[in-house]
Amino acid sequence: MAGKRNLLILGTAPNEYLVHAEDDEEQVRAALKKMLPSASFELTEVTPKQAERMRSRLSDSQHGLMNNLSKGVNSKVKKNAAAYKLAINSDQRLGAVASATGIIKFSPEISKISKPLGGGIGPVGVTVGVGIAGKF
């Protein structure tokens, strides 16, 4: 990994995000491009007043989330942070996990599987037990 940066990204409206970062706009843009390789987006710096207006649209749970961030992230982001508006140019809403290798769609799946015949814990114990019994 080339380097670490702190980005705080909060959804304020469908496909619109408030981004706090201690980096300059180009670095933030580059980091977002890595996180969203296939998405077209616009990033614009916003004034503290505009950022405050966007923050007012955050839900209680998002405010709680911000307060629960690790001290390291919170202090860095609050101290030096510039604020940006990220707008995703897509009709499709995002639901994605950012990973080191790229983006994966967030899609929880539950599959029922068939157990192999004879699989299980018990029968193995019985066989061993017979052997031990013979020894005594």
Binding site: G11, S59, Q62, R93, L94, G95, A96, F106, P108, I113
Partner: protein
């Protein structure tokens, strides 16, 4: 009243790579949860309330919050249906 999710006693789970293998001892059924479903299941085990589960997932997933919460709700519904979770109502939030 707030909905709370708990894992029944008859459930045993084990992580295998990114996935989670879940065994229901009462019915002897086995399920595989993919990485995203595993995240929801682990959130339910750790916290319980729907809000806590959503926040747990949102803290780890970058995406549209409302879309994410819908996916969490769908996953919780699926887990309830398969008997991997129980839902109870508790007083207060």
């Amino acid at each position: 009243m707030a909905d709370r999710y708990t894992v029944p006693n008859e459930i045993l789970d084990r992580a295998i790579g990114d996935e989670l293998l879940v065994h229901r001892f009462d019915t002897d059924e086995v399920f595989v949860l993919n990485g995203d479903a595993k995240l929801v299941f682990e959130a339910a085990k750790a916290s319980g309330s729907r809000e806590d589960i959503c926040e747990f997932v949102a803290a780890r997933v970058f995406g549209d919050t409302s879309e994410l919460y819908n996916a969490v709700d769908r996953a919780l519904g699926g887990m309830l249906e398969q008997g991997l979770l129980l839902k109870t109502e508790s007083e207060g939030a």
